[in-house]
């Protein structure tokens, strides 16, 4: 009998700590499937973020390091330069990559570091209790914007992917979502492209994934997927950015 669906070797057989309907579990699995398919598990060095996914190494079955909040791309830069034979990627949330780590993000991209970035945009800080993130939508209620994000005092959702696309050092940027099986398949293809680029020595590649956070959006898992499709993807349009 043919085995048509199995656990990727890059994923450990453990139960999840993520909330019901959270996107991290799907994104972790997509990364693991891609790494298995490319046959690079034994070359991988991953950098976990600070945030809900900090213990991604409890799920992934390859070498991993933590980094201080926002510093993942500085850590990854050094690992890749010290060991160019390895495949190095960061997995970062919106607060990590686009607020406290904006400087590290921009400069790693601008140097054209041959790295892969999986960027999870769920428009809130999850681990600390649902505060406003740089990517929080206008009007979105969070723990620190109880009346909704107001452009007069909080500014606008930060489109870091579009900003990075201007930089000459950047090879590839695509924005995808986890809102449906079709979108999940597109996300997997984008992640695979971002890893293939590194294998080919092509340079800095980033996939921004719109990912559900039902707990801090105050929505059911199903409503969260609809909100990504109907609201979030209007502010953060899907598709190839560079």
């Amino acid at each position: 009998m043919d085995n048509i669906f199995t656990r990727p070797k890059s994923l450990r057989d453990v139960s999840t700590h993520y909330c019901p309907g959270c996107g991290h579990g799907i994104a972790h699995r997509l990364v693991a499937e891609v790494i298995d398919e490319l046959g690079i598990r034994e070359k991988i060095i991953a950098i976990a973020p600070v945030g809900c996914a900090v213990i991604a190494y409890d799920y992934w079955n390859f070498d991993c390091s933590e980094a201080a909040h926002g510093r993942a791309l500085a850590v990854a830069t050094a690992i890749k330069r010290a060991r160019p034979q390895n495949i190095v990627f960061t997995y970062q949330g919106d607060g990590d990559l686009a607020a406290i780590g904006t400087n590290e993000t921009i400069h790693a991209a601008n140097r054209g570091e041959n790295l892969t970035v999986v960027f999870i945009n769920n428009a809130v800080y999850g681990m600390t209790g649902g505060q406003m993130a740089p990517t929080t939508l206008v009007g979105q209620r969070t723990a620190t914007t109880i009346a909704g994000r107001d452009i007069k005092t909080h500014g606008y959702p930060l489109k870091i992917s579009e900003m990075l696309a201007y930089l000459a050092g950047v090879k590839y940027i695509e924005r995808t979502s986890l809102s449906s099986p079709q979108e999940i398949l597109k996300t997997k293809r984008a992640i695979k492209q971002a890893f293939q680029n590194q294998i080919d020595g092509a340079g800095f590649s980033l996939v921004e994934i719109l990912s559900p956070c039902p707990t801090y959006w105050g929505l059911s898992p199903k409503q969260s997927l609809e909100w990504i499709r109907d609201v979030m993807a209007k502010e953060f349009p899907l598709g190839r950015i560079k």
């Binding site: 034994e42 060095i45 900090v54 390859f62 070498d63 510093r71 850590v75 590290e104």
Partner: protein, 349 residues
């Protein structure tokens, strides 16, 4: 082979000779000769040089390179060292080796670029959050600054801990002849914990987050027993004229050289003056003081600060002798004459 080099250049060359193959840094005076030297010398030696976008990025690059198993270093000066404290705490918590040079300038704040020793507390007491101590080396000559780089990388690897080379701006800038090592002195300390890709082994994880009940305390206990071993084995100091000294000067770095001149002047007059020069500041050389206080002596601590090492001297002396202090900071350096005057006053009193 002898070469005329500044302290900054000598520390950079010493690092290369010690097998450092990764350097990341950010411009700040008075340490700029280190990144300038590394920018051409490191690639020549087959290593990686990165001019980082910030002090934070530089120290976190050192974290990454060290996690990947290579000997890694950064350098800075006082305000830049304040920025690096986050990374140093993570390096200590993740049990990674790293070497960090601090060429101290005046503070607080932006201060000035004159020599200073005002970062002693920050360097020896931890500096960042959490219970940790970096090992702190304090050379006094350009030759010693060069030689101590070998020691620094070895200690960092053996104890898996950050090591700080703490020098004042004068030692960074002054030029002296340096005997360059002609034999390879690269130690080969195995790093089975390093991130190299999990081929043929279970995955390695570098982490300092330990949420499970009891897990962090367990790692903290490992760190503390590591520190206890360092305190037992790694105290280093130089002493002069302790046999019949009535007054013992205590100073480190450039300050110790000035103190030595003052000591020699007074000894020529027949006065009984000695010197203890800590070569490693953490662990503090308590042994020197336990020995010295067996006789009736007084101590004079001299620093380019307002009394930071002074506190460790008082702890080591533990009330068994009078400890006095003379210090200046912010541009003023205690002079030979000022030290001589202070000692004469102590001998009269």
């Amino acid at each position: 082979m002898k070469r005329l080099m500044s302290g900054n250049e000598a520390m950079a060359e010493g690092a290369i000779q010690a097998g450092c193959s990764f350097y990341a840094g950010y411009p700040i005076t008075p340490q700029n000769e280190i990144p300038a030297y590394m920018s051409w010398r490191m690639p020549e030696a087959g290593g990686v040089f990165i001019q980082a976008e910030s002090e934070l990025a530089a120290i976190n690059m050192v974290f990454g390179a060290s996690a990947a198993g290579v000997r890694a270093m950064t350098s800075s000066s006082s305000p830049g060292m304040s920025l690096k404290q986050e990374g140093i705490s993570y390096i200590a918590g993740s049990r990674l080796p790293a070497v960090i040079v601090n060429v101290m300038r005046g503070g607080p704040g932006l201060g000035n670029i004159a020599p200073s020793q005002s970062d002693y507390f920050q360097a020896t007491k931890g500096g960042g959050h959490g219970d940790y101590h970096p090992i702190v080396l304090a050379p006094a000559t350009v030759q010693e600054a060069y030689d101590m780089m070998f020691k620094a990388f070895d200690l960092a690897d053996i104890y898996r801990t950050p090591v700080i080379i703490l020098v004042d701006g004068m030692l960074g800038q002054v030029m002296e002849p340096v005997q360059i090592s002609t034999v390879s002195r690269k130690a080969s300390i195995k790093k089975p914990w390093a991130l190299t890709g999990c081929a043929g082994r279970e995955p390695n994880i570098i982490r300092s987050l330990l949420l499970k009940e009891g897990a962090l305390e367990e790692v903290n206990n490992i760190l503390q027993s590591n520190y206890a071993a360092i305190q037992k084995k790694e105290q280093r100091y130089e002493d002069s004229n302790l046999n019949d000294a009535k007054i013992i000067l205590v100073a480190y770095g450039t300050m110790a050289r000035i103190a030595k001149v003052a000591m020699n002047k007074l000894c020529k007059e027949g006065l009984k003056v000695g010197l203890i020069r800590p070569m490693i500041l953490w662990p503090f050389p308590e042994q020197a003081f336990i020995k010295a206080t067996k006789k009736k002596v007084k101590f004079l601590v001299v620093e380019m600060s307002y009394g930071q090492m002074l506190e460790d001297v008082r702890l080591a002396v533990n009330g068994k002798a009078v400890v006095e202090f003379f210090g200046r900071a912010g541009g003023g350096i205690p002079s030979e004459d000022e030290i001589v005057g202070k000692i004469r006053k102590m001998l009269r009193g």
